[in-house]
Symmetry: C2
Subunit: 483 residues, 2 copies
């Protein structure tokens, strides 16, 4: 908590009052000097507070008049709780996914990249990492001529443990193992506890990669009702486990913070309840913490693992969404499954390439990563709000949009019985790429996920507006708002 | 073939005549000028020929007298064909393996590294790769800020295809996929064709990593008689498949060239026969080509894939034994299974880190890799011969030693009923590490694999001699030769 600057803390508090209606929409806020006095802070800080609230679209500055509260986009409904059938099913995800990882570069002939979940290169400020990588490349030939250690760089693992300690989640360095990205971590976690045909609880919608992993391992996905704002329904998990006791549900994969695709974040109470519930039923809990550091405001949300005092939650993450997807550096803190995970890691890929582990550890040590994250969060928020605005303007009336509190993914539900796959094909013909709902589980035929990690240029704006027109054409009885 | 210099070609021919007894042991060879005339070459080349034969211990130079043929180490017997039970069995490999990947660095307090199969850092001449890596790090931030392509670097894949074309093995670039080392490639190959409890044919002995992969995937290893010089017995595979037709043998993993641990290389006739046999029985053939480029003399042995005209052989390899274990860059050319392998790759680790792929592609393009390989092969041969000599001198009478024609691994069989695990524990107490025979399959309780990739320093020599003493103490009725 100590690392949140005063202006951020104050802005968070005022923002919360506006969002929750305690400060009425349109109400005049105190002027700069008044605010500084009220909060016992400097004028500079008060200016920062109001600027940040403005960037967050929670305050409108009318020149020479003053500052006014503004509740965001009233009237934009969000998608509702999902209602999957909760039956374990063998999964099969289409080749749309492979397609998203077949285009590279950013020249204008490539599709508009709203598909893969990825911050734009300019957001990743890679210069510091480039310098560190070049330094280690010169300094330490052993990082190329040796295999590195099975567990990964001790220095990076110590730094990771220190980071999690800052959000009150103590990890033992020996249980931490560095992986080829988060996907390998999830694979290791599942393989440590599941046998083929076991059932695995997933959110609905959930990241399509999880469905692919389950398919590849011959496991059954059990999709559980999930609210796109508050996440996995613990009550539904409880019903399922009580009914299915011993019917082969062995694990639960959940992204409790800024989940992909919906952006949902579970409350602390739900997180604690889920940990206790899974423990009671002997279900292994696999936490995907990929977006945990990308909360826009307030303290970093607590990981599930924080609520686990028995080493039962396998905590997985990576630097792919915050620093360098191309480094392919992830981690798993596997608790009491650490020995099994270690054994599997050798059989899966021996070790993880050591060079970039050391370079990343440098950034974590020097504070560069923290500074970078602050900028990244602010940019993600700005971009997400901007793209949301375009979607609201351009998409047909009745479109539902989630407004997440972190990450860079926008989950959109089309009105009527619109067919997102038809939209996907139509958009692909025009060189626009997004992730269609059916990738994320059953029952999302009318949904799409838009990556807002890319800088919101005119090209992106045009693509969003074009998507809106195409969506309206699909539902011919609905006119696009912008028409 | 065109890239073998004349002196190498001539030395290979003469060496073969000596090895096969067509030139008698002790026979005088032509003098330099005479040799140059006979072969229609320069005096310089003739000198090179004789020097190379001398380095290979096939010629003895007696100053002012002349050159004399010398058949290598007569009287050192090699281990015999293995006789495994050929029953499919669930495998379980010990933690000895994890131990080998838990030590790093080369300071004197670490165990003497005769365990992991690894060329010493000075053999890998990493300067060129360091320069290329630093260059790409500076030049192309996208290699960090993007995921890279699912299939890997197109440039590297084209270069790999071009290399295999040089040994008459055409591959399609689209079937080539870059992996996190050879181990991930083997995993992908197995997962593309096998289901849990399927049987998989392996050599006996075989690389312990394969046994670990099979264990982790719930597959059964079917160990087949293998000669430590000529490799997998195709006749035994044929008997097994005829008897077991339809009994769940789905794949065969084989390292046909300089196999790990024994160094065996299959003949071309055997390779062709194995390809045809597996095709006839619908058994997927997975080729591990990890040591294919490390043949000491003559042309590079043909891959199994050369004999396959139906895209049935999945060819796997990596740069871990020849250039940079720490790069974790491998490949698979999966033929008709390429689409399935591609789908699995995403679910296993999304992509392989792109930075080092580009750096390695530079070395392949510029010819630096070929020059490096020539040096590496010569050094491996020299080191292997040196360590072999020490083993012969120091180990108990009756010890059998394989004299492989490539790679850097020495397979040793102790006399009597010596227990290699007891030797392992005794040696570990004294800070000496090697790979005990039981890791490599059933029936190798009296065997050990010694890594000769490390520069044969006095410390290595002392360790080998100490191993000999320990081995003799285990078989108390046998005295060490050096005693």
């Amino acid at each position: 908590m100590a690392d949140i600057p005063a202006y951020r803390r104050i802005a968070d508090e005022i923002g919360k009052l506006i969002l929750e209606g305690h400060i009425a929409d349109g109400a005049r806020l105190p002027a700069v000097r008044e605010l500084a006095m009220q909060r016992g802070t400097s004028v500079t800080t008060a200016v920062e507070v109001l600027r940040l609230l403005e960037r967050r679209d929670l305050v409108e500055a009318r020149p020479r008049v003053g500052y006014f509260a503004r509740r965001p986009r009233p009237g934009v409904p969000e998608p509702a709780m999902s209602r999957p059938r909760m039956q374990a099913r063998q999964v099969r995800v289409s080749d749309v996914v492979a397609q998203m990882f077949s285009a590279d570069g950013d020249d204008a002939s490539r599709p508009v990249p709203l598909g893969a979940a990825l911050p734009g290169p300019e957001l990743l400020h890679s210069a510091a990492l480039q310098r560190a990588t070049a330094r280690w490349t010169r300094r330490s030939p052993r990082l190329l001529t040796g295999y590195g250690l099975l567990d990964g760089s001790p220095r990076l693992r110590r730094r990771l443990a220190a980071r999690y300690l800052r959000c009150a989640t103590p990890l033992d360095v020996p249980e931490l193992l560095i992986t080829n990205g988060c996907m390998e971590a999830i694979n290791l976690a599942l393989r440590a506890v599941c046998r083929p045909r076991d059932g695995v609880i997933v959110e609905s919608p959930c990241y399509f990669g999880f469905l692919q992993v389950l398919e590849a391992l011959g496991l059954k996905a059990c999709e559980v009702p999930t609210h796109p704002r508050t996440g996995l329904s613990v009550a539904a998990v409880e019903r399922l486990l009580s009914a299915a006791n011993g019917r082969g549900i062995r694990a639960c994969i959940v992204s409790p913070t800024n989940s992909n695709p919906s952006g949902a974040t579970m409350s602390d109470a739900d997180k604690a309840a889920l940990v206790a519930l899974c423990r009671r039923h002997g279900v292994a809990l696999i936490e995907d913490d990929l977006y945990g550091e990308l909360q826009f405001s307030g303290a970093r949300p607590l990981p599930l693992r924080h609520f686990d005092t028995h080493g039962e939650v396998m905590l997985c993450g990576s630097f792919s969404k915050t620093l360098a997807p191309g480094a392919r550096v992830g981690w798993i803190a596997a608790g009491r499954h650490a020995a099994e995970v270690r054994r599997l890691k050798f059989a899966v890929s021996v070790t993880t390439a050591p060079l970039l582990q050391e370079a990343i550890a440098d950034l974590l040590e020097g504070g560069a990563y923290d500074r970078h994250l602050r900028r990244l969060r602010a940019e993600c928020e700005r971009q997400l709000r901007q793209v949301t605005q375009w979607v609201i303007e351009a998409f047909p009336v009745g479109t539902r949009v989630m407004q997440p509190q972190g990450g860079f993914l926008l989950w959109v539900q089309l009105p009527g019985a619109a067919d997102a796959m038809a939209l996907y094909r139509g958009a692909a013909d025009e060189g626009i790429e997004f992730a269609p709902g059916p990738l994320f589980g059953s029952g999302f035929a009318d949904c799409l996920r838009i990556n807002c990690g890319q800088r919101p240029t005119r090209r992106i704006e045009d693509a969003i507006r074009r998507l809106g027109v195409l969506a309206a054409e699909l539902a011919t009885d609905l006119a696009p708002r912008a028409a």
